[in-house]
Subunit: 454 residues, 2 copies
């Protein structure tokens, strides 16, 4: 069912462009969804993309523009005149998508495009200007202006007449909003209620007063949480006085929810910017270098720590054998526990436990896993004939490191969150590096004590 762009398909399209076979391309494009066409444009060069774009039927082309990848769209918009851009954005797409596209343009082009839209459709221009005032990471930045709105004093008959008028402007009706004379949001009118009520019924008698809404300045992430938690498909947005401003549909929020989850994933993997494997080499290098530098500094500190014990290593070189094991295990445990906290914070599933209870619990988990791992490595070392001092050192150090790393991995993200810093910072290379060093200190301290004792 789903379209999947194959290399063969792409080659045949490119060949058609080379021989300027407009008939073939037009037929191909008619079959495809705007999102699929955008996928093709993302893969060809700008010249080819422009050739294809001009062949797309008018109602589809604006949607294609919206679906393009940011960098491709940027190149594309540069090649279009402000009048051409305005033509795309009038009538064909929702106000939120139009505002997003215009928001990406340089300021002087923005003004020209809006002026042109204003000539043809003043209302649309007004909506776009309004939407552009909101931060893109807020409910205002996510909402669209297209919605069906009815007054509480109307009858069903009034309502249907008005809806008929409004319906000509847009296809999808997700909800009918009921407002008072001051445009304040009162509630929802369900389609089923409307269908089963007599034509003369007054809206105020039949509408549903229980309605969730957010204010325009609500954070996008929070909008995602609310829609997810309450299983909402559409959510109305009001200003601070409760006046209805727009509505957010969940398909726009899915992006936010996904990006949020991915951001944490990238942080945990030591990637600092929102990059994709198809980005340019230099962009990828830049996104990955910061964490590597932190790792490097951590490694230098690690070298310093071991340097303190150079004499011990000279006498007992076998101490060096288990450096990677201790460091790696500390890192692994730390990442595990911090990842659980970060995920809990993101999903609001940390529950009611306070920091102390969380630490106590983590201590329990670390103790169980630490004892199991230490016992295994003790058995291994004793069987394969390492010295008793080394065997005990490794096991005691491993247990200590697992417990310390677990507590650390739990505490750091919780503290960051308490001070309103993104807890995801505490995952990945950061916690690994910190625990590496901690682990080394513990290992060599215990080692020196053990070798002195035996």
């Amino acid at each position: 069912m789903q379209f999947e762009l194959t290399k063969e398909h792409l080659t045949s399209l490119k060949e058609a462009i080379t021989r300027s076979d407009k008939a073939f391309l037009t037929a191909e494009l008619e079959k495809l969804h705007p999102a699929d066409i955008a996928e093709i444009l993302d893969e060809v060069n700008l010249h080819e993309a422009k050739f294809i774009f001009e062949l797309i039927e008018e109602e589809k082309s604006a949607d294609v523009l919206v679906e393009l990848e940011d960098d491709v769209r940027e190149g594309f918009l540069k090649a279009l005149s402000s009048d051409e851009i305005a033509d795309q954005l009038i009538d064909n797409i929702d106000s939120d998508d139009a505002a997003d596209v215009i928001g990406e343009l340089p300021e002087e082009i923005q003004e020209k495009v809006i002026a042109k839209i204003e000539e043809e459709d003043p209302e649309q221009a007004h909506d776009i200007v309004d939407l552009l005032t909101y931060d893109e990471d807020t409910a205002g930045g996510l909402m669209a202006k297209e919605m069906v709105v009815v007054n509480q004093n109307w009858t069903i008959t009034n309502c249907l007449r008005e809806m008929r008028k409004q319906a000509e402007e847009f296809d999808d009706v997700y909800a009918v909003y009921v407002i008072d004379d001051d445009h304040k949001l009162l509630g929802l009118l369900s389609l089923s209620k409307m269908l089963v009520s007599p034509a003369g019924a007054i809206i105020s008698d039949i509408y549903d007063k229980e309605v969730q809404s957010v204010t325009t300045d609500e954070e996008a992430e929070e909008v995602g949480n609310i829609m997810d938690k309450y299983d909402l498909v559409v959510l109305p947005v009001v200003d601070e006085d409760g006046v209805l401003q727009g509505r957010i549909t969940i398909d726009d929020v899915v992006e936010v929810i996904k990006e949020e989850a991915e951001k944490d994933y990238q942080m945990a993997s030591g990637i600092t910017a929102d990059v994709e494997s198809s980005d340019k080499i230099w962009i990828l290098s830049k996104a990955r270098l910061p964490w590597l530098l932190i790792g490097l500094v951590g490694g230098i500190f690690g070298a310093k720590v071991i340097g303190i014990y150079e004499e011990d290593i000279h006498i007992y070189p076998e101490m060096a054998f288990f450096i990677p094991l201790i460091a790696a295990m500390g890192g692994n445990v730390g990442v595990q526990s911090s990842a659980l906290i970060v995920q809990g914070l993101a999903n609001n599933t940390l529950g009611m436990e306070n920091i102390f209870t969380k630490l106590l619990k983590e201590f329990g988990v670390a103790l169980i896993n630490g004892l199991i791992c230490s016992a295994i490595i003790l058995g291994y070392n004793l069987i394969f004939g390492d010295s008793l001092a080394l065997s005990i050192t490794v096991s005691v150090a491993l247990l200590s490191v697992i417990i310390i790393a677990g507590l650390f991995g739990t505490l750091v993200p919780l503290l960051l969150d308490r001070y309103k810093i993104d807890a995801a910072l505490a995952t990945g290379p950061f916690i690994t590096t910190l625990n590496d060093i901690l682990g080394l200190v513990v290992y060599f301290m215990i080692g020196r004590y053990m070798y002195l004792s035996f």
Copy 2:
């Protein structure tokens, strides 16, 4: 706007339970959304939860049941008789949620509950039995049976009459599906088209023939991708003959999309099962132990590798200083590159590049970052007076390790994916451990060569 359960609120509710203050509790519950009540029930003990549950108004209680966390619901359902469960599930919730709840029950209870529902509402029972036959990770397992369906031969007037009848049964109308006499899905009837067309218009003349659908056996993950890509709020499900079977709303798919993103995150963090920080200690330990054991085995191999060079360390103990740095950097680079591939696979953003191009690109990224990091550490070592042999060893080894780890981190997930194994397996402790060992081998090989040369 969003309800947030505070400790004070919880305490006041618990106290009300202790003094059996039903009036207070009922008033509180009336104010709350089912999802919020479920949040409360997740936090109290079973006895308290049952006390609260019995006070919830009837239309809400089934929704509360659906929103509970799995383990809480399990305990809860055990405490209810099959008749009580059936009562909850009749009329009040959609067929997909009812099927999900029943699917969790032991088989003999399932039969009793379905038999009881059959007495009261044979159609609902039939829908549930049908839904239970689908795997929960497929479109069939996600879909609900409640939808508005009209025949292409009807007029708008017929249509409205039929919709009125159907509308009594459910609140939300997301789409009106058009079918032929064999119940095959033909397309969609938009509400706006219906509003602006004359009452005598025939549906077949006005419906929208372009409709996306999936078959019942489509994978849940793919359903999520399709709805996300095409910005769909609702998606019809058909059987292999094209007969309409149900519809999936995006709120059900958001869970799937989130879980998918989180699964990769947990894998990368070395957590093998879907756990939350509020789970029991033993469950958390079990989910974390497997990766720690892999790390342990890796550490033992690391010890073996270093063991080979015991004599070298005895003579040049400073070789040990940079063991953690080399191991950690290899691990970090490996995680970065594998995470990018895993994310690209999940989002279909890998683009058209083949494996060779990907590796070449990763080589470029690794070369840039490797040269920068090696230069920094070379400068550090020369300034702070480590021997020339050690300084060169560390830098050459670091560059080699970063390149090898990068290529490895790119190649392994791509290969796993080619052989239909979850590429996310290649992230986290797995790739870290592998690169740790590789790094050590490279480091000591280069080290021995350098010390022999100088």
